[in-house]
Symmetry: D2
Subunit: 263 residues, 4 copies
């Protein structure tokens, strides 16, 4: 299990989400409360959108709390849209290429959860990645493979549909060759314009997902765990796909299961 936080809105210093709040993402890296592992110290990553279409990407293998580069970066960089992640490995090595977020072109993706029994069908899963995207396969995680498969399914044209199709394929592989729980997926993704999030599981244990609009900041945080206690955060129900576009929120069902049965 991992923890992540994302933001879209008026530009803010990244530290306002990542390190400043009482239960900031960096705080969650050693004291997460709503997940199995309180420690998320197997690397971290930050993707942020600035003046360019493609995001900046900073990832490293040490605990987020102990990296002075990260502390300096989040104090300097202002961004209107960013994704940040702290990792607790579910098996694959601690390596920069296995750290979230992943970035391909203008798209970014980060994931908290698991694909059950992935090692038993990793080769099959990688075969789902189209040739044109294969050079982007840098590490060995299920998350990166899922992201590249979703890109191949047409993420740009239909984010929810493409992700449903990709998850359905992974779910089918896990049902054939893997273990339960087959899919637990709380993920954020972005094309640099909108921020998307999904909360889904094949059992009833989808990792938590919250969001909150701040009128003073004119922006929205989307997170694994609320950043401050005493604030009012909206929890996203399991089986949902969210689109955050400026102040607007659209939440619709996310149903790869039907596709998985059909696959």
């Amino acid at each position: 299990m991992c923890r992540w936080a994302a933001y879209t809105g008026a530009p803010i210093f990244v530290e306002e989400i990542v390190s400043r709040p009482g239960h900031s993402l960096i705080h969650q890296s050693h004291c997460a409360t709503e997940c199995l592992s309180a420690i998320n110290a197997d690397g971290f990553g930050l993707a942020w959108y600035g003046e360019r279409e493609e995001p900046g990407l900073y990832r490293d293998v040490m605990p987020a709390w102990s990296d002075p580069n990260l502390r300096s970066l989040v104090a300097q960089v202002k961004s209107r849209l960013f994704l940040a992640h702290v990792r607790a490995s579910t098996g694959t090595a601690t390596s920069r290429n296995n750290c979230h977020p992943f970035a391909v072109g203008r798209w970014t993706f980060m994931h908290n959860g698991q694909v059950g029994g992935y090692d038993a069908f990793r080769r099959d899963a990688e075969m789902l990645i189209p040739d044109a995207l294969y050079p982007q396969r840098k590490g060995a995680t299920d998350s990166e493979a899922l992201f590249l498969t979703a890109l191949g399914e047409g993420l740009a044209a239909d984010p929810r549909g493409a992700l449903e199709r990709a998850v359905a394929k992974f779910e089918a592989l896990s049902r054939q060759k893997g273990d339960a729980p087959h899919i637990r997926l709380t993920a954020a993704l972005s094309d640099g314009v909108r921020l998307y999030a999904v909360r889904y599981a094949t059992d009833d244990q989808a990792p938590s997902l919250y969001h909150r609009w701040s009128p003073t900041r004119a922006g929205r945080a989307v997170v694994s765990e609320p950043l401050e206690s005493g604030e009012c955060w909206e929890q996203v129900p399991q089986g949902s796909f969210c689109t955050f576009d400026a102040e607007a929120v659209e939440i619709v069902p996310f149903c790869p299961a039907a596709l998985a049965v059909a696959a």
Copy 2:
């Protein structure tokens, strides 16, 4: 606070102390029970004595549990005398040069504890290091400075006396310019022949220290926390200096305080 484990006896694979036991040092790196911080993920180190007079030294900045190099090393290296450490920084940066153990010539040293208000008198403390040893000053920790000062006080000729004099000087500086608690010190050190350990504090909170002779292994483990529950470990009383020489154990009082008052 940190956690450490040392061994002296018939040669064993280092993993028999560092990674194999139920509450091995690597287990303590994320689940320590007898100290304030359960997480000791700000680097680690291993010093081991082999065929040469000088020890091998392997230190890195990631959590001990996530380094495949460490896992491989402890599975291959057999040693009759070694010191291993997992670090929870009390302020100084995560850097290889700040990781324990420290090694100078054939001597090694590792420390769990603190010197109260050290930042306020670091310069004074470094002035205690003699010129000849100053090139060995690689990092910025109180622990390394204490070790170099003790070497300057004649660690080779009189380990307990030299360490008492060094601690007394640090304690005096902390009383003059620092904060309480002035000294908390549970340390291990070795010249490659004998293994020494000390447990001392200016308050009543010296970090824990245990040891246990294993007849099957024909060796002794000296540790921050027992490596297995249900085994019989001897706790070292506060204010003690221990010499472990093959099966023999000598425990004598460690009293820098008298010297500190006189200083």
Copy 3:
């Protein structure tokens, strides 16, 4: 292009090959003379056989010349059979998982050379890796994929034949979808008993390969470049597969090309 050195014989400190000689492997990491890139600073690795069937493995991403851990390790570890490598990336990221040697079970493999146009058919190449070995696929290099493919072809039963078949398949892919030069391969591999080496290319530019028996040391070094000038080193001709077993040397033709045409 990279540089490597291997050894088999009476146990020696690894530094006697890796750091001590005038043109040691570490010297070659910044002053290689017989290859296109004089600098081999994109990581390094060491695999050594000791008391266990499986080798030790130490790899990191910094230049070999600047890693104090490596310097200490090669001064302490004595081995009867080891493989060491310094890397100059031909494109894939600097990551521990992309550093040679690669190790699977008791087998190790390291490679100097290239597979032409690999990015265009990486997915096809990874499909050559059997399911049972796929969890061992940690990085993204052509070298690791070739090694795993060769293991799948039966390296244990028939080292030369399995490697010929694997190279033939890679060569066929490069001829179909990649670029010339299709294969340049100077590699070493071992099962912990014998040391094997191969020198092959589809053009006339196979990277250099030398070996030399030292009677005083009672061991043989097998290297990219001679470790000392003025010594007498035997150059292995292109298109050869070598088996080094104690003092014995067997050199036979290595001919994947015929297989590649047939494939």
Copy 4:
């Protein structure tokens, strides 16, 4: 010896100096031409000024050419004033804390050169650092000690004078206890408003220093080596202190030697 590049002017993407030009700083990290060591692969650093008074700081120990984080950062960050450095160690370990630039409050400093026989008087040199600045002493380099000494001498009130006094003290120590060449110093420093540079040596071998105003960019690059061949770069004479303030350049003599004699 190291290589560095700095910039002041209208905001540009940092990559326009660091990675884009034909002989960019990253190119100089493996192919420097005007210094003894062509390879500057022992770490790198970037300090940049943005919206805050204090600069951002990003340093790491790998070669600059192989760090994807650096490549991404310089493509995203726009800055009106920045300093970048690639390091070839003259002895001290490769560690983030030994990488340039160094930053204290709003000041930054980076250095190419050496202080002759520094190890013999490092302790004396560190004693020149005032107590209030001592907590900023993170590593073990002569460069960081010189910077902190200059800050103690009043860099904010009188940059040239303070740096002359600091260099004079180091020069005196080198003459008493060290070796020739006593000082070689080509350095850049900034308070976030102006960019300063100095070129000085006790022999006639001060490392090279150039600058060039680009009218199209409305900014000035100050560098160890020209970033493009065929362009017109002004070389700074040895014994000079430069102040770059928007388009204005002031170059005055830099004469610590007289002070050193008097010291």
